[in-house]
């Protein structure tokens, strides 16, 4: 009888709002960043092994997919940094008002895009 009882629907029906979206994206970007940092480390160590390696990686990173990867990682790092600062402020006990959490959440989402653009422009020597 106990096992027959169904489980009521949860994540399938619950409506998303800014704060929950930022929270789940924080986790996903966290995982992406770990993979990204490993990737950057391998890149740097390969540099020590000579010019040829640098050439190969440079070739792949300059492809369309490579550029997508770099810009994606830039966004993911920017998001993580901003979202982490938001969590730090919350851990100090501030910003728990529902309105404030939505504003700071929106700030994180928009800020991460702006950061990505700024980093891209710096990388391209526009700034």
């Amino acid at each position: 009888m106990e096992n027959k009882k169904p489980l009521s629907p949860h994540i399938q029906i619950y409506r998303w709002h800014i704060s929950s979206l930022v929270s789940i994206t924080h986790r996903i970007t966290g995982i992406i960043n770990i993979i990204g940092i490993t990737f950057v480390c391998i890149w740097v160590s390969l540099l020590l092994l000579g010019e040829n390696n640098y050439g190969i990686i440079n070739f792949y990173l300059n492809s369309f997919f490579g550029k997508f990867l770099i810009i994606g990682l830039t966004w993911s790092f920017s998001f993580q940094i901003l979202s982490e600062s938001r969590h730090l402020i919350m851990d100090l006990g501030f910003g728990f008002d529902p309105k404030t959490t939505n504003i700071t959440g929106l700030f994180v989402i928009i800020g991460s895009i702006i950061f990505t653009i700024i980093f891209y422009l710096i990388g391209k020597n526009f700034i």
């Binding site: 009521s8 399938q12 929270s23 919350m90 851990d91």
Partner: protein, 257 residues
């Protein structure tokens, strides 16, 4: 464990369609989660056409109207109808709340009504809250005072009493706990926002002499620190309380203790 998909026996089916018989022009479709324990069937979504010209303003009024006039087999909890008892907590339009204080005019399109999320369903909109009540019991939600309470009145200053504002108003409707993804995945160990708000209420009560013990008991990786400030609890609370803030305050106290 995180299990995104529903188990096999909980998958939803399309249910019956109750066409309007009043001939009203102001109709609204109401989709309601149904499960009957006496049959072995999986849960279904029944759709009702409700005449809104003769229906008061709250979602609970719709449910009453359906039960009285269309389909008497539907089961749901309700009592005071004024947002005081917390019986009619359910998930409406993807958000937890009390059916008696949620206006149906706030919901656009069809009205979807589900039981509180991630609970074992007893029947239709009634979820099994036994686990939550057991957790509530585990924090010992009563005044503990060893010294003088037997003989003398324990006096509380106005300032100390004010600390309880925002914590004592909780009606234990479970809207917050069942809205929390952390509670969905770790509900057996994580206490959840409702119980932690109550834990906080007793920790900060100036009359209570068991503060240290209470803090020690709640300081646990799984019991307390599963809160990741997703904020579903605060946005769901029908009484406008802030369980997430209370949990953060407990964490702060533990750092200082």
């Amino acid at each position: 464990m995180v299990q995104i998909n529903l188990p096999e026996n909980s998958k939803l089916k399309k249910g019956n369609y109750f066409k309007d018989k009043t001939g009203s022009k102001n109709l609204r479709k109401v989709n309601i989660y149904r499960w009957d324990p006496s049959t072995g069937d999986s849960p279904r979504i029944d759709t009702y056409e409700v005449d809104m010209d003769n229906c008061p303003s709250k979602v609970l009024d719709i449910l009453n109207k359906i039960k009285n006039e269309i389909d008497p087999t539907i089961a749901y909890r309700r009592s005071c109808a004024h947002g005081v008892c917390g019986s009619c907590a359910m998930n409406m339009d993807g958000k937890n709340g009390l059916a008696c204080t949620t206006s149906h005019s706030e919901i656009s399109g069809d009205i979807d009504i589900f039981p509180l999320p991630h609970l074992k369903v007893k029947k239709d909109l009634i979820g099994d809250l036994d686990g939550l009540y057991k957790q509530y019991q585990s924090i010992e939600p009563w005044l503990k005072s060893n010294s003088k309470s037997e003989s003398t009145e324990i006096i509380q200053s106005k300032k100390d009493r004010e600390k309880l504002d925002g914590a004592y108003e909780c009606i234990m409707c479970a809207c917050c706990s069942t809205s929390c993804p952390s509670y969905w995945w770790n509900g057996d160990k994580y206490l959840g926002p409702a119980v932690l708000l109550q834990a906080y209420r007793w920790i900060i009560d100036s009359r209570d002499e068991d503060r240290k013990e209470r803090l020690k008991k709640v300081a646990d990786e799984l019991k307390l620190y599963r809160c990741h400030t997703i904020m579903n609890c605060t946005s769901a609370c029908p009484k406008g309380l802030n369980p997430a803030k209370a949990i953060a305050e407990i964490k702060k106290m533990l750092v200082k203790a």
